[in-house]
C-alpha cells in the first residue's frame, strides 16, 4: 500500500467517551477505534493498515475540500466538506452524559454517533462501515437484523450499525455501504454500538439523537467551564485539558499516555510503541496539570487508582500499568499489519514494564504533594503508602536505572532520576512538617535527601562541560535537566542552571523545538524533536524571567499543533508535523504547564505559586 494512502498523523482528530477513543481523519474516515477500552483490540485500524485494518467513513462521493473544528469547548468534532454542488457538515461524537441523567433512560454501553447534514446545495454522500475486529485479524460478515440495523458478533461481543442512510452488504465486500443524495436541510444519523456480555441497547434517531447530541455538548461545555485558568492562550489550555480528560479512563481514574499504538516516531522506522497504558510518570504530570486547572475530581480519581494499582508492587513502583492496574503487559508484534506508512513492527503491550525508572517515585510523591497543597488532606492509608515509597527511595537511589527516556542501552546513573529521588524525600519531609504525614524517619530521610543533593551537585554537574549532565560523570546533556528548575532543585537563575539551559539550547535546540537527547539509546534510528521538552524550555524561560522570549517560543510551538489544536509526541524535524502516538498527553501537559508559567510571569497568575517556586504546603489543622 502506497504511503500516500495514509493521511498525515496531524490529519486526525480525536473523539471519545473517557473509556475509549476514536481517531477521525479530515476525510471523514474513522480509522482507529478500540472497544470497550483504550487498550482493547481494535475494531477499526486503517490507521495502521489501510487494507486490513478496517474503517468507518462518511464523506461526499466526488471531489471536495474539508475543514474542521471542535464544537466550541467540547470533544465533538465537526467536519465541513465543500464540493462543487454543495456543502455538508459531519458531526462526530461519542455520547456522554452525567450518571444521574443516564438513570432515566437506557443508554448503549458504547456508541459512536455520526450526523451528516446538508447545509447548502445538493451533495451525494457515501457511507462505508467495514469493521475488522481484533486488529484486523477478522473479516466479519455483517448480518442484517431487520429494522435494528446490521450486526456482527464474536463470542460475547456484538457490534451494531444503525443508519438513517440505507446500507447494504455486497457480495464482493464484507462491510456495509450506502450512498444517498442529500439536499439542503436534510440530516441523517449513523450510529455504531458496541456491547459485551449484555444484550445491546439500540439507540433511536430523530429528536432523541438530537437531544443526545445536545446533552453531550452540554456535558463537555460544563466540564470545560470548570477550568479556572485565566491567562494567555486560554483556548489552547482548555483544548489540552479536554484532550487529557478524553485520555482519562473514567471507570478507574487511570490516565493513558495516548489512545494509539505504533504511530511511528520516524515514518518508516521501527520506533513504534504501544502507548495505551498508564505510565505513572505521565499520569502524575497530567494529574498535576489538572489540579493546577482546578479539576479536583479527576485528581482524586487518579489518586484512588494509583493507590489501588500500586498495591501489588508496593513499596516498589512499576512504571506502567493498564487502566485497571494490571502489571503484566507483555509486548508482542502484530506481523499481519503493515504499520502506518510501512512503519513496522506494530506492537501491542510494552516491554518498558520491566524497567527500573527511579524518577517515578519523585513524580508520584510530587503529584500527591501538589494535590495536598491545593486540596487538603491525606488519609492514613495514603500516608502509609507514601512512607513506603520514601523507604524504597532511601534503599535504592544509589542504583543505576533506565531513566525517564526508557533507554534500552542499559542502566546508568541518570542525573534526573537522582534529582527526582531528592524530590520524593524533600516533599515527604515537607508533608511531615506540615502535619499531613506522621511517623516518617525524619533523620534518615533528611540525611539521604542531603546525600542525593551532594551526589547530584558533584557527579551530575560537569565543570569541564560547564553544565549539568545526563548521567553521572558524563559530558552529554538531555532535556530532562530542564526539570531541575521546575522542581526547585536548582534556582532557575543560578549560574549553573543558566549555563545548562544555554548548552541544552545549543545541543538539542532545533528550529524552536527541542530534542530530548541525541546520544545512542540502544534503539537504532533517529527521532524528531520532543513535544514536552520543547514546552519545558518555555517553562524554564518563564522561570528565568525571560517572558518575552518564552512567549515567542510558545507562539511558535502552538503554530505546530494540527488544525484542531492537537499534538503528537514528537515533531518532524523539518516540517514540525506531529509524529508518534497521537494525541499525546505528555505534550499537552507541557503546553498547560508552560501556559501557567507564562501566566504567572506576565501577572495572570491564579493566586497559587508554581511548583518549584519555593512553595510550602499549608499547615494541617
Amino acid at each position: 500500500m502506497s504511503s500516500d494512502a495514509y493521511p498525515a498523523i496531524g490529519d486526525y482528530a480525536i473523539i471519545g467517551d473517557c473509556r475509549s477513543a476514536a481517531l477521525i481523519s479530515k476525510d471523514g474516515g474513522l480509522d482507529w477505534l478500540c472497544m470497550p477500552r483504550f487498550d482493547a483490540p481494535s475494531l477499526f485500524a486503517a490507521l495502521l493498515d489501510r487494507e486490513r485494518g478496517g474503517h468507518f467513513t462518511i464523506r461526499p462521493t466526488g471531489g471536495y475540500r474539508s475543514e474542521r473544528r471542535y464544537v466550541g469547548e467540547t470533544n465533538a468534532l465537526e467536519t465541513t466538506f465543500t464540493s462543487e454542488s454543495g456543502r455538508i457538515r459531519l458531526l462526530d461524537l461519542m455520547p456522554v452524559d452525567s450518571e444521574s441523567n443516564k438513570r432515566h433512560e437506557l443508554w448503549p454501553e458504547h456508541e459512536v454517533l455520526r450526523r451528516v447534514e446538508c447545509m447548502e446545495g445538493e451533495v451525494e454522500v457515501e457511507v462505508t462501515c467495514d469493521p475488522r475486529p481484533h486488529y484486523g485479524r477478522e473479516i466479519p460478515r455483517l448480518t442484517r437484523m431487520g429494522e435494528l440495523g446490521f450486526r456482527y458478533e464474536h463470542r460475547s461481543e456484538a457490534l451494531y450499525v444503525r443508519s438513517e442512510i440505507p446500507l447494504s452488504v455486497r457480495e464482493d465486500s464484507p462491510g456495509a455501504q450506502g450512498v444517498v443524495g442529500l439536499q439542503a436541510g436534510d440530516r441523517r444519523y449513523v450510529s455504531l454500538i458496541y456491547t459485551d456480555s449484555e444484550p445491546a441497547v439500540l439507540p433511536t434517531f430523530g429528536d432523541d439523537a438530537d437531544r443526545k447530541v445536545e446533552r453531550t455538548l452540554d456535558w463537555w461545555r460544563e466540564w470545560a467551564s470548570r477550568c479556572r485558568y485565566e491567562g494567555p492562550y486560554s483556548d489552547d489550555v482548555v483544548r489540552s485539558a479536554l484532550v487529557l480528560k478524553l485520555l482519562a479512563y473514567a471507570p478507574s481514574g487511570a490516565i493513558v499516555a495516548a489512545p494509539t499504538t505504533s504511530l511511528p516516531e520516524v515514518v518508516g522506522g521501527s520506533r513504534n510503541w504501544d502507548y495505551r497504558y498508564c505510565w505513572l510518570r505521565d499520569a502524575s504530570m497530567t494529574l498535576q496539570a489538572l489540579v493546577d486547572l482546578g479539576y479536583d475530581e479527576e485528581a482524586e480519581a487518579f489518586l484512588d487508582w494509583m493507590l489501588h494499582s500500586t498495591r501489588l508492587t508496593w513499596p516498589e513502583l512499576q512504571i506502567l500499568f493498564d487502566v485497571h492496574g494490571e502489571t503484566r503487559l507483555q509486548e508482542r508484534e502484530l506481523d499481519h499489519l503493515e504499520g502506518y506508512r510501512g512503519s513496522r513492527p506494530v506492537r501491542v503491550g510494552n516491554a518498558a514494564e520491566g524497567q527500573l525508572q527511579l524518577d517515578v517515585y519523585g513524580e508520584v510523591v510530587e503529584a500527591v504533594f501538589e494535590f495536598v497543597r491545593r486540596e487538603g488532606d491525606l488519609n492514613r492509608a495514603t500516608g502509609k503508602i507514601l512512607r513506603g515509597l520514601g523507604e524504597t527511595v532511601c534503599r535504592r537511589w544509589r542504583e543505576p536505572d533506565e531513566g525517564i527516556w526508557e533507554v534500552r542501552s542499559g542502566r546508568r546513573h541518570h542525573t534526573h532520576s537522582k534529582m527526582m529521588c531528592w524530590v520524593a524525600l524533600d516533599r515527604l519531609l515537607k508533608l511531615q512538617e506540615s502535619g499531613h504525614l506522621a511517623g516518617l524517619p525524619v533523620g534518615r530521610f533528611r540525611k539521604e535527601r542531603d546525600a542525593i543533593r551532594r551526589e547530584v551537585e558533584t557527579h551530575g554537574y560537569s565543570e569541564s562541560a560547564g553544565s549539568y549532565v545526563s548521567v553521572f560523570d558524563g559530558e552529554d546533556v538531555d532535556a530532562s535537566l530542564l526539570l531541575l528548575a521546575r522542581y526547585g532543585f536548582e534556582p532557575p537563575q543560578s549560574d549553573r542552571m543558566l549555563a545548562t539551559c544555554e548548552r541544552l539550547h545549543q545541543r538539542l535546540g532545533h528550529r524552536g523545538m527541542m530534542y530530548r537527547y541525541l546520544g545512542d539509546d540502544g534503539l537504532g534510528g533517529k527521532e524528531g524533536p520532543f513535544g514536552i521538552c520543547s514546552y519545558w524550555a518555555v517553562d524554564v524561560l518563564c522561570r528565568q524571567g525571560a517572558t518575552d522570549a518564552a512567549a515567542r517560543s510558545f507562539e511558535h510551538l502552538r503554530s505546530l499543533s494540527n488544525d484542531v489544536g492537537l499534538y503528537g509526541e514528537e515533531f518532524d524535524a523539518e516540517t514540525g508535523a506531529p509524529l508518534g502516538n497521537f494525541p499525546q498527553a505528555f505534550t499537552h501537559v507541557g503546553l498547560i504547564d508552560a501556559a501557567l508559567s507564562l501566566a504567572a510571569g506576565t501577572g495572570h497568575g491564579m493566586g497559587e505559586p508554581r511548583r518549584g517556586d519555593g512553595h510550602e504546603v499549608r499547615d494541617h489543622g
Partner: protein
C-alpha cells in the same frame, strides 16, 4: 408439599443457574443476562437494573421451584434425573416460546420488525435467544437442566 425444602433448594438452584449463565458471559459464550433483562422491565437505570433483576430472578426461581415440587408430588417420586428432564423441558419452553414473546412483554425491548423506539431499544433475544450468541441456547439448557437436577436431587417429598 415440603415448603422449607422448596425455599432452600429453590434458592440454591436459582443461584447456581444464574452463576452458570453469568459464567457463560464471562467466558465469552453468550450475552444473555437474565438479571439485566428482567431488571430493565422495572428501571432504565443500568446500575440498578441488574440488582432488581437479580431479585426478580430469585423470586421466579422460587415460583418455579413450587411448580417443580407440584410435579414431583403428583408423580409421587423425585430423583435427580427426573428433575434434569423437567429442567430441560423448562429450558426448551423458555427458549422456544418465551424468548420470542419477550419483545411483546418487555416494556423496553425492541423488535426486529419495528425497530427501536425511544422507550423500546433493548436488543431482542430472537428465536432460541440466538441474538445473544450462537451458544446461548446450549448454556440456557445446561443452566435449566442443572436447576432441575438440584431440585430433583435434594427436594424431599412431603
Amino acid at each position: 408439599m415440603n415448603v422449607p425444602s422448596i425455599l432452600l433448594w429453590g434458592f440454591v438452584a436459582t443461584l447456581v443457574m444464574t452463576t452458570i449463565m453469568s459464567a457463560s458471559r464471562g467466558l465469552g459464550m453468550s450475552r444473555m443476562s437474565i438479571p439485566f433483562m428482567l431488571g430493565t422491565m422495572f428501571t432504565p437505570d443500568r446500575r440498578r437494573a441488574p440488582v432488581w433483576g437479580f431479585l426478580a430472578t430469585l423470586a421466579m426461581g422460587w415460583v418455579f421451584a413450587f411448580v417443580y415440587a407440584l410435579v414431583f408430588e403428583s408423580w409421587d417420586r423425585v430423583s435427580w434425573w427426573l428433575g434434569g428432564l423437567l429442567g430441560l423441558a423448562h429450558g426448551f419452553v423458555v427458549l422456544l416460546a418465551l424468548m420470542p414473546l419477550l419483545s411483546g412483554l418487555h416494556p423496553r425491548m425492541a423488535s426486529e420488525y419495528q425497530g427501536p423506539e425511544p422507550t423500546r431499544n433493548l436488543e431482542p433475544p430472537g428465536f432460541l435467544a440466538l441474538n445473544y450468541g450462537r451458544r446461548t441456547p446450549i448454556f440456557a439448557l445446561i443452566a435449566h437442566a442443572v436447576y432441575g437436577i438440584l431440585l430433583g436431587a435434594f427436594y424431599h417429598l412431603a
